[in-house]
């Protein structure tokens, strides 16, 4: 995981700026996650594997995604957890 503060332990003013930037970025990301709920998402995995599933939720540290109807090369998995480390990118439409 990523350290909470990169290089600003010494300077309180910079720390405050950094925390503000962090909150702006995170709020926007959480809104994006919210909008993904129940949407069809295409996952691009390593080795050019592509999967489609209905997005459910992510845990707070973005380590796992919970999805439904995961279309895998060997069949459809009704409910599944995807390890984020295995994912390169994913796309969906709004």
């Amino acid at each position: 995981s990523i350290p909470t503060s990169a290089a600003s332990e010494a300077d309180p003013e910079q720390l405050q700026q950094e925390q503000h930037a962090r909150s702006v970025l995170r709020e926007s990301f959480l809104r994006c996650l919210l909008s993904m709920n129940s949407k069809k998402v295409q996952f691009h995995m390593h080795e050019k594997v592509k999967l489609e599933a209905t997005f459910g939720a992510s845990d707070i540290d973005v380590l796992n995604f919970q999805v439904s109807d995961l279309h895998t090369p060997i069949g459809v998995q009704k409910e599944a957890l995807i390890r984020c480390q295995d994912v390169i990118s994913f796309t969906f439409d709004v």
Binding site: I2, A6, F29, V87
Partner: protein
């Protein structure tokens, strides 16, 4: 242009890429282009938006751990910035501020 070490840049660096059109190389052979909406400060994942016709858009999220290179292509004009930043706002805006 940024090569490797993307997850280590930190919020003050990431936020400078917001509202810019970027090209991201990830994994071994993926290349994505889009307007950068945000970077998740926890996972360093980038959220890219590509606008389609009739107010529709496609969203690509590139996981921070897979990022190899981020290149800025251009800055957004006012209209694009507005469109981008209102993409995921609820119809009735409810901010997290008290």
């Amino acid at each position: 242009m940024m090569q490797c070490g993307w997850p280590l840049l930190g919020p003050l660096q990431w936020i400078r890429y917001v509202n810019r059109q970027v090209m991201v190389k990830a994994g071994n052979d993926e290349e994505h282009r889009g307007w950068l909406l945000t970077v998740d400060p926890v996972s360093a994942s980038l959220v890219l938006v590509t606008f389609r016709e009739e107010g529709r858009a496609s969203v690509q999220v590139v996981m921070g751990h897979a990022v190899e290179e981020v290149q800025v292509l251009q800055e957004a004009d006012e209209e694009t910035t507005r469109r981008l930043q209102t993409s995921f706002l609820p119809a009735r805006t409810c901010g997290l501020d008290p």
